[in-house]
Amino acid sequence: MNILQSLSALGFLLVATTLEVSGDAVVRLAIYDQAGRMRLTFILVGAILLLGYGTSLNLAPVEFRHVVGLYIATLFVVWQIINFIFFGTLPNLPILVGGTLIVAGGLVVTFWKPAYSP
């Protein structure tokens, strides 16, 4: 995968992961933070976001096996941003250290070109 393809895939992944993580956050809020009609509204909003995530990921013109590393790395970063927006908490040291490894691993999976590949 060259740099241009990676940037295009990254755009799709940014949209997909943003929809996925915000959908998860909204469903969590529906379960723990809301009641009655508002809970139903939040579940509906979460369902829309998660369906949007599935749609964007599957309609994106990229092979999933080629973007899995980038996907995990993007998911981690977007997860922290959405977590801060929705729940107002910042990542602590273990999350930052582990997250660095996740992002580094994602870049290795995406960009490392082995001499022999089955």
Binding site: A25, V26, M38, T41, L49, G52, F86
Partner: protein
């Protein structure tokens, strides 16, 4: 002077007021075709084609959308609970429309609006919850 039970959302009210102005502009363009303002359809030619295919009822739809946005804008500006409810309803319907557009027309661009609308709904719902809890404390 606003009471403890009200929380004004001037930025969100302005957002919905902008929606009202766009509805008014669209109705004017549909009612008076062939003017110099028709150039504005270049901003969204797909919408123009859809409105033309729907015919006369497109004006009724835009009237309904514009009126609902106006109600939400007034309610949010005043900081009322009903304003928040109407705004959340509009945002949910808008999200369903955006997702349908992606599924039916493969238009990825509309997906970008989904998390933004969700963030606005969460913000409004939290303010609504805070208003209710303040109300309950005052009642007790």
């Amino acid at each position: 002077m606003p009471s403890a039970l009200t929380r004004r959302h001037r930025w969100l009210a302005s957002f919905f007021a902008f929606g009202v102005s766009m509805c008014v502009l669209t109705i004017a363009l549909l009612l008076f075709p062939g003017t110099a303002l028709d150039e504005l359809w270049r901003l969204n030619p797909d919408a123009h084609a859809v409105f033309q295919s729907i015919g006369g009822s497109s004006i009724a739809i835009m009237l309904l959308v514009g009126t609902t946005c106006l109600i939400a804008a007034i309610g949010l500006w005043r900081g009322t609970l009903w304003g928040t409810r109407v705004a959340i309803l509009i945002l949910v319907v808008n999200m369903i429309g955006d997702l349908s557009n992606t599924l039916l027309n493969y238009d990825f661009r509309t997906l970008v609006g989904l998390p933004i609308a969700a963030a606005m709904i969460v913000y409004l719902a939290r303010c609504r919850k805070a208003m209710r809890s303040v109300g309950m404390r005052i009642a007790h």
